[in-house]
């Protein structure tokens, strides 16, 4: 390849790398919108609160102002909403007709929305290094709509998939939890649920029942129970994966963005929540057991309580915070004189034609406080199903032997009453009891989508989490501390770089300057690759990058020393360059490949932080090989072949004398 095409390749690569790291270099803008349905007074006050909060914590770091959406913004938003809703029309979940109908409704909605332009106020924040932690922090401020803390996308993000760096929790603040599956406890629980007496009974049945069908049935049941009671490694792993998914869905529901969940050593789950400043809340969330309970509704004769409560339901809807809602219900209980044996719950349902599948509170419902049936009464034999007759997704389940008895009892004694299914404190459906159910088989319907039915089946399946979890390690880092660490790390890199630069120029003169160009390109490429791989940069990783800077110079040093040696033997610049590179290439490849092999292995075997470190090392080696063997070579080629320089200044030393004597 001639020098011109080499330069073209290098320029293209540099351009790509620059655009990949661009989101980190430029300033970014965040827009914070408020929740819908606030009064103008509330809006002004909340905006003021947000700005005050920012002033207190981020003065001098970010710039902020209150702004209003323009007509274009509004148009864009409407279009975007429309597109988002269209995407949700999954052909797997809806029939063709349903989809066509929905599209018509959506189009109409969009056209109407486009006609009436409403300016919306938002807080605009501008600054460098805006990270997820900061966004999460913003989304938890009062009256902020967590779904609408928006980062304005840069052109490169939209078009070439450039992303801002992922910083580790040590750099951006947040909390990290490691949970371990407590399998001993699980075994204890299972042994309680399936005592030895039950197994013996089943064994006996499997042998002594009269008909073959019954024997087979007992045998099947026995196999099922024995299967539940055996815990092998594969099952443990499956349980951990299930637990991880359950926790992920819970975390997702809170609006914390970019949570990181991963399984370690098959029995631990590591959870990283950037910007979560309330460790206790997060812990509750993670360890909470999503509950499914059955409650009997009040007898039709004393429906009065529900009716009385529902008088104030519209007032309740206007409340925004959870605390306010709790307080409201407490007061309501006093107001309608509700006896202790009853509770007020909220019935939730989806809206017609709303494909976002969001649940909305519909009314209050007064239920008996004592659950008629709890999640514990449901056996793990639960699965999502499709009810052909009524054309809906359902969750079918089998009750435990005790649960079957309870259920038969309740359903036979309370004919005509409603039995409410309460999932996570929300009433999702409340069918009438028409006939006693003695088989122990039942189903839940609540207008679920297929995915929701699956999720619910999963939650019910094991009561909640498939295995009890205990916290074995936790840490939380305040956002300001993280910011300090970034500043220090960046400072360390800058100083290190500067001194290395000065040293190289003093020692190798022009050649030293070339190695500096190579070094900068090297850092740029490294950053681009890290951004491309969506790699999480941590404090040790930052140190790794600094080290790579030091080591990256090594390849250039090896080359220069070789060229100087060749020059010292009295060879011409051209010959010395060619031979010097030839000799040095082998050495550089050999020494770097050894480290590369180690880095690859480490990245396969290593635990979290070490793995990250190995990846940094790997990338550093690859980019420094490229910059020294390709870029430095190209520049040297340009100098000695194209520009015909008889002498490229490479520092003081022996070789100079030879050089002058030869000339």
């Amino acid at each position: 390849m001639n020098i011109r095409s080499r330069f073209t390749v290098i320029s293209i690569l540099i351009a790509i790398a620059l655009s990949l790291v661009w989101p980190n270099l430029g300033q970014r803008t965040v827009r914070v919108y408020l929740q819908p349905r606030l009064t103008p007074v509330q809006i002004t006050k909340s905006m003021g609160n947000i700005v005050d909060y920012l002033k207190e914590h981020y003065a001098g770091v970010h710039k902020f102002s209150i702004a209003q959406t323009s007509k274009e913004d509004y148009k864009l938003k409407v279009e975007q909403d429309y597109r988002l809703k269209l995407q949700k029309l999954d052909p797997k979940r809806f029939d063709k007709e349903e989809i066509e109908e929905a599209i018509i409704v959506l189009r109409k909605e969009r056209d109407e929305a486009l006609k009436e332009f409403k300016a919306e106020k938002y807080v605009a924040i501008k600054g460098n290094f805006i990270q997820t932690a900061f966004l999460n922090e913003l989304s938890r401020l009062k009256n902020v709509d967590p779904q609408r803390v928006e980062v304005e996308k840069m052109w490169v993000e939209d078009n070439i998939n450039a992303k801002p760096f992922n910083l580790g929790l040590d750099l951006q603040g947040g909390m990290n939890l490691v949970l371990k599956g407590d399998f001993e406890k699980l075994m204890k629980l299972l042994n309680n649920q399936y005592p030895k007496s039950l197994i013996d009974k089943l064994k006996k049945k499997a042998k002594e029942e009269k008909t073959k069908d019954k024997r087979d049935e007992a045998q099947n049941e026995l196999d099922r129970v024995l299967d539940i009671l055996t815990l092998d490694e594969k099952k443990k792993k499956d349980y951990m994966i299930q637990a991880k998914e359950i926790i992920r869905s819970r975390v997702d529901k809170t609006g914390v963005s970019e949570p990181l969940l991963r399984i370690q050593d098959n029995d631990k789950i590591e959870i990283s929540l950037p910007g979560v400043a309330n460790p206790e809340g997060a812990k509750k969330l993670v360890k909470r057991t999503a509950s499914v309970n059955y409650h009997l509704a009040e007898k039709p004769s004393d429906t009065s309580y529900s009716a009385k409560a529902n008088v104030d339901f519209n007032k309740f809807l206007r409340l925004t915070s959870e605390k306010q809602k709790e307080l409201f219900i407490e007061n309501l209980i006093k107001k309608i004189n509700l006896p202790d044996s009853f509770i007020i719950t909220t019935y939730w349902d989806k809206r017609k034609n709303d494909i976002s599948n969001k649940l909305y509170p519909v009314s209050f419902m007064v239920l008996e406080a004592k659950p008629a049936l709890t999640g514990k009464d449901i056996s793990p034999n639960t699965y999502a199903n499709f009810d052909q007759e009524n054309n809906q997704h359902i969750v079918s389940f089998q009750l435990t032997s005790e649960g079957t008895k309870k259920f038969a009892d309740v359903t036979s004694k309370n004919k005509g009453r409603r039995l409410a299914i309460v999932i996570d404190d929300k009433v999702r459906s409340a069918p009438n009891i028409n006939e006693p159910i003695v088989s122990g088989r039942a189903q839940i319907s609540g207008g679920f989508t297929g995915q929701e039915a699956k999720d619910l089946a999963l939650i019910i399946k094991e009561g909640s989490l498939p295995v009890p979890l205990e916290i074995v390690s936790e840490s939380s880092i305040g956002p300001s501390l993280g910011k300090e660490s970034i500043d220090k790390g960046v400072k360390a890199i800058m100083y290190g770089l500067l001194v290395v630069l000065v040293f190289m120029v003093l020692y190798y003169h022009l050649a030293g300057f070339i190695s500096i160009i190579a070094l900068f390109v090297n850092i740029l490429f490294m950053a681009a690759l890290l951004a491309l791989m969506n790699f999480t940069i941590t404090l040790p990783g930052l140190a790794g990058i600094v080290l790579t800077i030091g080591m990256a110079v090594d390849a250039n040093v090896i080359i220069y020393e070789r060229i100087r040696e060749e020059l010292a033997r009295g060879k011409s610049m051209k010959l010395a360059t060619t031979q010097g590179f030839e000799r040095a290439t082998l050495t550089i490849l050999d020494s770097n490949l050894t480290t590369l092999v180690a880095a690859v292995i480490l990245s396969q075997f290593g635990v979290g932080p070490i793995k990250g470190f190995a990846v940094t090392l790997f990338i550093g080696i690859v980019t420094s090989l490229f910059t020294s063997l390709y870029i430095t070579k190209t520049i040297f080629g340009l100098l000695s072949f194209k520009l015909n320089m008889k002498f490229v200044p490479m520092g003081f030393g022996r070789y100079n004398k030879h050089r002058k004597a030869n000339a």
Partner: protein, 313 residues
């Protein structure tokens, strides 16, 4: 040409003395290696220093509550922080106490775990129940068994790396080269570990990462010299290995020195400016780079020479 190989026994002797001496100091004077929270388990808390939260106040507080805690000042001036470290034994006790006082904790909206229990104690005893006065800037807790598992894994990782490098070098060079390279790596590992123990640098995950980097750096350095030796062997048919090694080390000496200087500059900058949390890691890297550079010339090469001699006779 410098006569490096004349110094081989001196060098080997110095290395043995350093390893022996530093390990002796570690285990006799310092009661063994100190492990950081990552591996030992326990609680680590960082608080901003205020008029209320001061070193002596906190020391007094822990003494009164019979909690064994290390209280240290970190950083200077306005940004100074107080670091509190509690071992896993006391952490377990605190956890137990927290469970016992669950009701009291709940009144102030705290949950029953050791960290919140500490926060609760400080608020009630030091701050007149004013929650805003006591703030933990950072806190972490690691269970004792968890740390142990992580430690074992890290040791395993170091061994795997060593083996793989040896395997690779014997594949690329000849086996005698691999022996030299591996022993040099083992040497680096032991000397650095000894110094870590002697200087009481707590073992943590970043320190393990630093040790792994040192292995990478050292093998890099060794291979550059070995490469030169191999090249010189190919050039001369009748050679004296000792002379060739001396020649090769001398020829690559400038490179060895310059690379170690630039790397030391970079790591030194992390040590001085990178902040307190990176200090241990940077210090280990500085030590390791010096040791790794030394071992390529003074351990790897002599071992190659001796192995060559021994295996022939």
């Amino acid at each position: 040409m410098i006569q490096f190989m004349k110094l081989k026994w001196v060098a080997i002797f110095i290395s043995f003395v350093t390893i022996g001496g530093s390990f002796f100091m570690t285990f006799n004077e310092k009661k063994g290696f100190t492990k950081d929270l990552d591996f030992a388990g326990g609680i680590k808390i960082t608080m901003k220093k205020t008029d209320l939260v001061k070193i002596d106040v906190l020391r007094e507080f822990f003494k009164k509550n019979k909690i064994e805690a290390k209280v240290q000042l970190a950083g200077k001036g306005k940004n100074s922080m107080i670091k509190i470290e509690i071992g896993s034994h006391d952490e377990v006790l605190l956890q137990k106490k927290a469970k016992d006082s669950k009701a009291q904790l709940a009144k102030l909206d705290f949950s029953a775990n050791s960290i919140e229990y500490l926060e609760y104690l400080m608020i009630t005893q030091l701050a007149n129940n004013d929650k805003t006065k006591i703030m933990f800037a950072q806190n972490s807790k690691v269970g004792p068994t968890f740390g142990e598992g992580l430690f074992k894994q890290s040791v395993k990782l170091l061994l795997i790396t060593l083996l793989i490098i040896t395997f690779y070098v014997s594949f690329r060079f000849r086996f005698k080269f691999a022996v030299g390279a591996m022993l040099a790596l083992v040497h680096d590992l032991f000397v650095t570990l000894g110094l870590i123990g002697w200087l009481e640098i707590p073992l943590s995950i970043p320190v393990i990462a630093a040790l792994l980097t040192i292995l990478g750096y050292s093998i890099n350095d060794t291979i550059v010299i070995f490469d030169r030796i191999r090249e010189n062997i190919d050039k001369n048919e009748n050679y004296n290995l000792s002379r060739l090694i001396n020649l090769s080390i001398t020829e690559s000496l400038t490179r060895t020195i310059i690379t170690s200087i630039t790397t030391l500059i970079a790591v030194g900058s992390v040590y001085f400016f990178g902040g307190e949390s990176l200090e241990p890691m940077a210090l280990v890297l500085i030590l390791g780079i010096i040791v790794g550079t030394y071992s390529s010339s003074f351990i790897a090469s002599p071992v190659l020479l001796l192995w060559n001699r021994y295996s022939k006779s």
